[in-house]
């Protein structure tokens, strides 16, 4: 089956990101496809490139990046939710006249239309709330 995940919880503040990552691995292990992870609400904070948790704890950005590298899972971040929370890639930083950036590939800033397409285009969308 074709799965998708909607993640609404911020990293470390809520268990949602850990739960979603674990679920993603289990979905793939059962032979399903994971069409994408959409980050919305506090979930957008999972794309913060400067995340530096203590070394004896799971590194969530590394977890997401690994999912993308090994399985090609798209990591889609709601641009409107991201910008107001301080998350932008180089292109948005340029557009806003700011130096530096807080989001980088493989995370991609995108619109809510992608969430709708993802949710209605796949067989199962599973939401992990904050």
């Amino acid at each position: 089956m074709r799965y998708a995940i909607l993640l609404l919880g911020g990293p470390y503040s809520a268990q949602a990101a850990h739960s979603a990552l674990r679920f993603a691995r289990a979905v793939l292990a059962r032979g399903h496809r994971l069409e994408g992870v959409f980050f919305y609400h506090d979930g957008v904070q999972n794309a913060a490139r400067l995340m530096a948790p203590p070394q004896d704890e799971p590194h969530l950005v590394d977890g997401w990046v690994g999912l993308n590298a090994e399985q090609g899972v798209p990591l889609m971040v709601c641009i409107a939710a991201a910008l107001r929370r301080g998350l932008m890639d180089e292109r948005e930083a340029t557009r806003h006249g700011k130096q530096g950036h807080s989001v980088e590939a493989p995370f991609e800033l995108t619109g809510l239309g992608q969430l709708v397409d993802l949710g209605l285009g796949c067989d199962r969308l599973v939401t992990f709330g904050p």
Binding site: Q15, A29, R30, T127, P130
Partner: protein, 96 residues
């Protein structure tokens, strides 16, 4: 049949009532994260309308030291079983 997913404890959040209110008579409810507390014998009564359709995620029970404390009416599944429940359901609805 739909799978509803609840991540809050009935000890602090009333969202479980909203989940139950939107469940059809065949729908299932899976307790995850802090929601697994609802599987304790003193709290499971909040879910009595779901007899036989209440599940709890093993990994989240284990992490909280609650694995051996669940009420007998609750079906415990691991994350593989979680995926299986989503396969069997037409769709999922999350409550938080």
């Amino acid at each position: 049949m739909l799978l509803h997913i609840l991540n809050r404890s009935p000890l602090s959040s009333l969202v479980y009532r909203q989940a139950i209110a939107t469940m059809g008579t065949e729908d299932r409810l899976l307790l995850i994260e802090d929601g697994v507390q609802g599987a304790l014998p003193t709290l499971v009564r909040h879910f009595e309308a779901l007899e036989g359709r209440l599940f709890a995620l093993r990994e989240d029970l284990v992490a909280r030291g609650l694995a051996g404390k669940c009420d007998a009416s609750v079906q415990v599944v691991d994350v593989d079983g979680f995926v299986e429940l989503t396969e069997e359901a037409e769709r999922t609805v999350s409550w938080y």
